[in-house]
Symmetry: C2
Subunit: 231 residues, 2 copies
Amino acid sequence: MHTSKYPIFYVTVDIALFTIKDGVFQALAIRRRRDPHGGKLALPGGFVQPEEDLETAARRELLEETGVEETVLEQVRTFGAPGRDERGRVVSVAYAAVLPAAVETHAGTDASEALWLPVDQLLAGELAFDHREILEAAVERVRAKLEYTSLALAFVGEEFTLSELRRVYEVIWGQDLDPGNFQRKMRHTEAFVVPTDRTRSAVGRGRPAAVFRARRMGLYPLATPITRAGS
Amino acid sequence: MHTSKYPIFYVTVDIALFTIKDGVFQALAIRRRRDPHGGKLALPGGFVQPEEDLETAARRELLEETGVEETVLEQVRTFGAPGRDERGRVVSVAYAAVLPAAVETHAGTDASEALWLPVDQLLAGELAFDHREILEAAVERVRAKLEYTSLALAFVGEEFTLSELRRVYEVIWGQDLDPGNFQRKMRHTEAFVVPTDRTRSAVGRGRPAAVFRARRMGLYPLATPITRAGS
DNA sequence: CAAATAGTGTCTCTTAGACAGTATTAT
DNA sequence: ATAATACTGTCTAAGAGACACTATTTG
């Protein structure tokens, strides 16, 4: 074993967990209790354990810090600039995760305070370490993946109306979509959504909307992208 | 400093360096001289130094092992399964890089043997560590990025004909494109290629082709994707 | 001349996008 | 009835793809 001559690193995973709450694109942040960066907001995350896969570590941290068990999880990028963590040479593997708004999160085992905040607000404020840069990269990834994968489904519950699904795109892209064209697009895109025989009066006003379900589980590429266009 | 209680890792970068040689999609492999995996083929790469950024490390390794100085370089994904390297817990940050065929590579300072081999052949054979998986991820990334970025330009020299550029797509996608439609697409896609006033009789037969240059340097997204369709 | 490659014209089909119009609900 | 949301119809413009045709070279 000659590895002792090589530089030593610590490896963490950090997770940008997204949802749409109150019609706003939000991410989960942790209020750090200890130094370094004690008191600052940070993305949930932590050190990878000796016998642990990277994705496993991300899921464990997510569970420990937020109580979240099931979610879409995708590796975004790895951040390893020297000096990004004053405790030593720490490389962080960043993940993006998505939850439906309905899912409850609770404080983790280490009783760290977890709170949902608008993405815009988080990016405008101060975050611990280089978590601002990590969050930016994750947001960019989510925006892109909305276009050409089924990611939008991860933001809604098991059952949803097309308006709810449309609002996912509108909120994350910050741009309204034409309701009529969106309707047709969704109904004609194979293997994306499938109508149930029920309807739901979401907002209490107007004609009740048909309730849909995802046709497939998980994240997969779309045959034709969802285009970004004004309303 | 309380980091000593955290697991210790080594961090490497591995680079999948691609080109098109003799009309074939090829990648650069190193014949390993030492154990572990001595004698096997591997991707160029090595340990990140204590004060080194990840991308800097990738560029340094590329230079040391292949003599390559300038190239498009993009982080693909990080591989960190326990047991992927028998020397200890090693996390590898994978990069994809692209060269024009014309650029010469020479053996590196440690005199390791570097050789270009068809991607198909490398993926079919045995590679050291999990480099087969890394190469697969890098190939997938390159195939995708051809569609919606200017990546194809990195495979050709400063000056090129549209046939040469078309062959990049054809070889990497394993699929012929319609020459006429490709011509029109390229000439009408703003900010992609710009004709010079010269022509070149590439293959010696047929009408000489107009010589083009890239309109912009570097890697950037395309307004409209290059579509994949049969000839 | 034929053969080969470069490049243009043109037709069809699909789809995005705009927007008008119809359907169904609450108040 | 009115307002609001859900959905459908229809028109237009643009682009992909197929493929015929012209242009320019070598042998």
